[in-house]
């Protein structure tokens, strides 16, 4: 190979590398700009809600029953109360079922039955929520003959438990097998190992999953339309219709009055604050900072050690 040819190859190679690096840079810019396009609407939702909602909020707005339509008076007291009650009741039904089925899938889930349950759980998790509302309507409202809080809590619990089951299973699987084996080596029975060792180690993941599902059902409107219906009065008993924040936001946003729409923005802000509040409150009460740190390090070590 003479010198000229070598020179020629070298320039060709340089051009080729330059072109490939250029393409790489263009792709990287495209990807980053896509991310920015995605983030803009998410950020602007929060900004809009805060900007419009903060003017509506006052003590009366938070505590009073709704005034006459279009007057701009009254508040969303019953809606706040109703949301808290229905979230609490749905959690009471959905969390135990979800956590226990998550334990089954993770600890006893090495067979065909568990595999098919896992699959249908995944499919169920993505179901349109309005169908679960119709189901609760058929099973509870039509049978009892009136709209009730029970039906709403039942519908929301149906949305909740697949999410809780899935996240519980995932976080139990993160606990190293050596922990279980250590328990077994001490002669503990399977359920003792599960309850005292595995669940204790995976507590943070389970709580995070529960909070995730609470955030999801807190904003659900569709199943509530056909189960708890909405009302303007404070809660009296579980067999009557009740108000909830998502329902109230929907009704207010459909009204043609400016004052009603401002109240809708205010209610949306209150809903966001309630969900954030539940999240922060439960996290500080239940989770131990040292535990979080230790668990995170443990997982890191496990992953690091495997590679």
């Amino acid at each position: 190979m003479n010198v000229n040819k070598r020179q020629e190859y070298r320039t060709l190679f340089k051009q080729n590398v330059k072109r490939r690096l250029f393409v790489d840079k263009i792709v990287r810019l495209t990807v980053i700009s896509c991310v920015i396009i995605v983030i803009i609407p998410l950020g602007s939702i929060l900004v809009e809600v805060f900007k419009n909602g903060i003017t509506a909020i006052s003590i009366e707005f938070l505590t009073e029953v709704p005034g006459s339509i279009g007057s701009g008076e009254g508040g969303i007291g019953p809606a706040i109360q109703g949301t808290l009650i229905v979230i609490g009741m749905a959690s009471m039904i959905g969390v135990p079922i979800g956590v226990l089925s998550g334990i089954f899938l993770s600890e006893f889930g090495d067979n065909k039955l568990a595999k098919s349950i896992r699959f249908f759980n995944d499919v169920f998790m993505e179901f349109p929520s309005i169908l679960l509302g119709i189901f609760a309507f058929l099973v509870i409202v039509l049978v009892l003959g009136h709209f009730s809080v029970w039906a709403g809590a039942f519908a929301l619990a149906l949305i909740m438990f697949p999410i809780v089951a899935r996240t519980t299973e995932e976080s139990l699987k993160m606990v190293p097998v050596t922990y279980r084996e250590a328990g077994m080596a001490l002669g503990l029975r399977h359920w003792v190992v599960t309850v005292r060792i595995v669940i204790a180690a995976a507590k943070n993941g389970i709580v995070t999953g529960i909070l995730l599902s609470v955030a999801r059902i807190g904003g659900e409107t569709a199943p509530l339309i056909m189960t708890i219906l909405g009302s303007s009065l404070f809660f009296s008993n579980f067999d009557t219709p009740m108000d909830a924040l998502p329902l109230r936001i929907w009704r207010l946003s459909l009204l043609p009055y400016d004052s009603a729409q401002m109240q809708g923005w205010g209610a949306a802000l209150v809903l966001i604050l309630i969900i954030i509040g539940i999240n922060i409150g439960v996290r500080t009460l239940v989770l131990n900072k040292y535990d979080t740190y230790r668990f995170g390090r443990m997982i890191k070590e496990k992953i690091g050690g495997r590679k």
């Binding site: 790489d24 995944d122 929520s129 309005i130 169908l131 569709a222 339309i225 219906l229």
Partner: protein, 172 residues
């Protein structure tokens, strides 16, 4: 060309298919991107390193190693997003315009329309259980259920097959 112009005919009013589609697109992005991320993370590290070793740039590594490996899972992620969009109720109900009768079959993107879930949400409370109205709405729900089951089963089969490859691969 006539067909293309037909899609965009009429005056945009705000409450139409176009607005509802944009909002749905924003709403399914988190679903699609998180599943897609999971699927791409399941590509064995060795494949990526082999591509880098051949002198590939990041984009060429994606083309050579990640994309062919995770194609099925990415399709599954998109279908999962479609499943989300089919069932989404309230945002669509507020934006689609809720046309009834013959005008619910739209002639352009800028015309109000109706989806299965929005018609259920709008008319369910007013429907009387004695007549045919309520059974008809529940029938709409049955069709929605069938579509949702089909979409989600297909999507999950694709995604789980992809993730199972990860377990069997020589990653560990």
């Amino acid at each position: 060309m006539v067909i293309v112009f037909g899609f965009f005919s009429g005056t945009p009013f705000g409450l139409d298919i176009f607005t509802a589609s944009i909002i749905l697109a924003i709403m399914i992005i988190p679903t699609v991107s998180s599943v897609a991320r999971e699927v791409m993370k399941a590509v064995p590290q060795q494949q990526k390193e082999a591509a880098y070793m051949l002198g590939a740039t990041k984009w060429e590594m994606f083309k050579l190693a990640i994309f062919p490996y995770s194609k099925t899972g990415l399709i599954g992620a998109s279908i999962l997003g479609l499943g989300r969009a089919v069932g989404e109720t309230m945002a669509v109900t507020m934006l689609i315009g809720n046309a009834t009768g013959a005008s619910a079959i739209p002639s352009s993107l800028f015309k109000p329309s109706q989806t299965m879930s929005s018609i259920i949400a709008n008319e369910f409370v007013e429907a009387s259980p004695a007549g045919l109205h309520l059974p008809a709405l529940i029938g709409v729900g049955l069709i929605l259920l069938a579509i949702a089951i089909c979409i989600n089963v297909v999507a999950h089969l694709l995604v789980t097959r992809m993730l199972k490859v990860k377990e069997g691969a020589i990653n560990n």
